[in-house]
Every structure is written in C-alpha cells, then in structure tokens.
C-alpha cells in the first residue's frame, strides 16, 4: 500500500500540533497498526520540527537589498553584452595594426639600412615631422570626433 486514506488526518493532526496528545484514540490506534501512517508520523514530525528550526535560523538579505543587487547585475550584464562587439572590434584592429607594422618593418628594413649607412640631409627633419604627426594626429582626431 503506497498511501493510507487516513494519511491526510495524520498530517493535519501534526500540522495543527494536536499529535500525539490531542487526537482521538481511534486515530492513535490506527497509526499504531498502519505501517504507512507510522512512517508518515516519523518523517513528518521530524521534518516539521527541523523546518521550524531552520526557518528561525534563516538570515536572508532584505528584499530591498535583493532587488538592488538584481537591478545592478541586470544593468551590468546588459552593458557588458552591448559593449562586447566594440571590444572585439578593438582587439581585431589592434591585431591588424600590429601585423601591418611588423610587415612594413620587414619589407622596409633593407632600405632603412641603406638610409642609415649614408644619411641624406633631409632625414632628421623628416623623422621629427613624422614623430610630431604621430603625437598630434590622435589628439586632433579626438577633438574632431568627440562630442
């Protein structure tokens, strides 16, 4: 037998704290003779007592705190998801720039070696001009493109 028809009565007596002292003799006798109800009493009484004690020990965060954390996390996740394509594009751009610099250096190296061996008179002004352009260009771009 999986279930006893008196199981609900037994559970009701346990829930209303009538078990074992304030129940009818008939129910007490039934429980003593019914294996299913004996199990129900043993398990339910132990679990209800444990539930009540665990409930008292529960130290949960306040609802306001929980809402605030959830809200912050939802915002952070949304921003992270929205920023991800930009971050990937930045990474790809940086990688391409690095590849370009290495390739340019590789191909220009013989010419540069020749230039440094017999430097022409315009090399120094040219180098200073290039360096200045490298510094000025990003600053100028920032001022042009920013709001």
């Amino acid at each position: 037998m999986l279930q006893c028809p008196r199981e609900a009565d037994v559970l009701d007596a346990l829930a209303s704290a009538r078990w074992p002292d304030r129940v009818s003799t008939e129910l007490s006798q039934h429980v003593a003779s019914c294996a299913v109800c004996r199990d129900v009493v043993a398990v339910a009484a132990a679990m209800r007592e444990d539930h009540d004690a665990t409930w008292q020990e529960a130290n949960v965060p306040s609802s306001g705190q929980m809402w605030w954390r959830a809200e912050m996390r939802a915002r952070q996740e949304a921003i992270r998801d929205a920023s991800r394509p930009v971050t990937i594009a930045q990474g790809v751009a940086a990688l391409l720039a690095l590849v370009f610099v290495v390739a340019a250096g590789w191909f220009a190296w013989p010419t540069l070696q020749g230039l440094f061996a017999t430097p022409p008179p315009f090399l120094l002004p040219l180098a200073i001009g290039l360096l200045a352009a490298l510094v000025v260009t990003p600053v100028a771009l920032y001022f042009v493109l920013s709001d």
Binding site: L2, Q3, R38, V40, A46, M47, M66, W67, A74, Q90
Partner: protein
C-alpha cells in the same frame, strides 16, 4: 581589451540599454519585494537542507531570485510562480551537487544562538533529533531529500512537488512512498 574613452552619446546608449534590461525584469520592485518577503525564508530553508551548506544556500538564494527575475515566463497563479522559483532553486542545487558533490549534512545551530532557546523547547533534545534527521537525510539521494522536504516540511501537494522538481505528477506517489520508507527506516522506524 584596451581602455578607451566613451563619448557622451555612447554612454547614453549604454544607459538606455541598461534601463531596458531593468524594465525587462519579471516584476516591478514592489511586487518583487512582496513576493520575496513571502518566500525567501522558505527557499533558504529548502536550499540549506537539500545542499547541506548554509553558505551555499545564501549564494543559491541570490542566484535563484535573479534567474527568476530574468525569466521570460508568464505565470498563471501565485502557486505557479512559487513552484517556478523552487524549480530554479532545485536545478541550481542539482548543478552544484553534480559539480562539487556537496556535503550532505546541515550543521546544527550554534549553542545559545538567538532564538534557539527563546520558546521554551528542550534545546538539547531538539538538537539531537535534528542531528538524527541530518544523518538519516544524508543516506538519501538529493531528489528524495527534495521531495520529502517539499511534502512534509512545507506541506506541498503532489502537483506542487511535480512542478517544483520537474517530474510527472503520476510518479510522485510512488517516489514519495519509497523516499519516505527509506527515511523512516534510517530514523529507526520498523515497517
């Protein structure tokens, strides 16, 4: 990857996206807070008992409510909503159990913990009974612990248990019977 400055329009765009994410949560703040106040202690007690770890129960409680809020689910009743929350909590606990094989036993309350002696119960005897239950529960499978807790500690119906654990309602009766028998035997009840 590389830190970069954002323009004001970019910041405004991200702010709008973040606001939309908050608007997309399952409930507004007032509804959530009322629901949380009704359910949080029960969910925590459930998680603490089935994982056997209070700190883990704290973490899983947060995660459960967050996932609940992010879920795109329409609820037909308060009971449906509550069962869905328990389903999330159960799945998270099961995931953690599979990953870590968490401890089976919930530690007993510390002696003289506030509330432990306040209602005049026999604290020593209660502690002993709870320790017995912990040991007996440790012999069960996680699903059996979940089912018994929902049925006998929380008084959930078979339908609610099925919904909370993702099982068929028809199988609850037999599974519950077996779990109850095993726990009763572990508690020393002769069949």
């Amino acid at each position: 990857m590389f830190p970069r400055e954002m323009t004001v329009s970019e910041l405004e765009r991200l702010d709008r996206i973040a606001d939309a994410a908050v608007d997309g949560l399952q409930m507004d703040e007032d509804t959530f807070r009322a629901f949380y106040d009704r359910t949080a202690r029960q969910v925590w007690a459930y998680l603490a008992r089935i994982t056997g770890d209070r700190t883990l129960a704290d973490d899983l409680l947060q995660e459960s409510y967050y996932r609940f809020l992010r879920a795109q689910q329409a609820f037909t009743s308060e009971s449906h909503r509550r069962n869905y929350l328990f389903r999330i909590a159960t799945n998270l606990a099961n995931d953690r159990y599979r990953r870590n094989r968490v401890a089976n036993v919930v530690a007993l309350p510390a002696e003289n913990e506030p509330g432990a002696l306040s209602d005049g119960r026999d604290f020593a005897a209660e502690s002993e009974r709870r320790a017995d239950l912990s040991r007996a529960m440790a012999t069960l499978k996680p699903r059996e612990r979940q089912m018994l807790w929902l049925a006998y500690a929380q008084g959930s119906s078979h339908e609610e248990i099925a919904e909370s654990l993702g099982l068929r309602k028809a199988s609850i009766k037999i599974l519950l019977f077996r779990a109850r028998r095993r726990l009763a035997a572990a508690l020393g009840v002769q069949s």
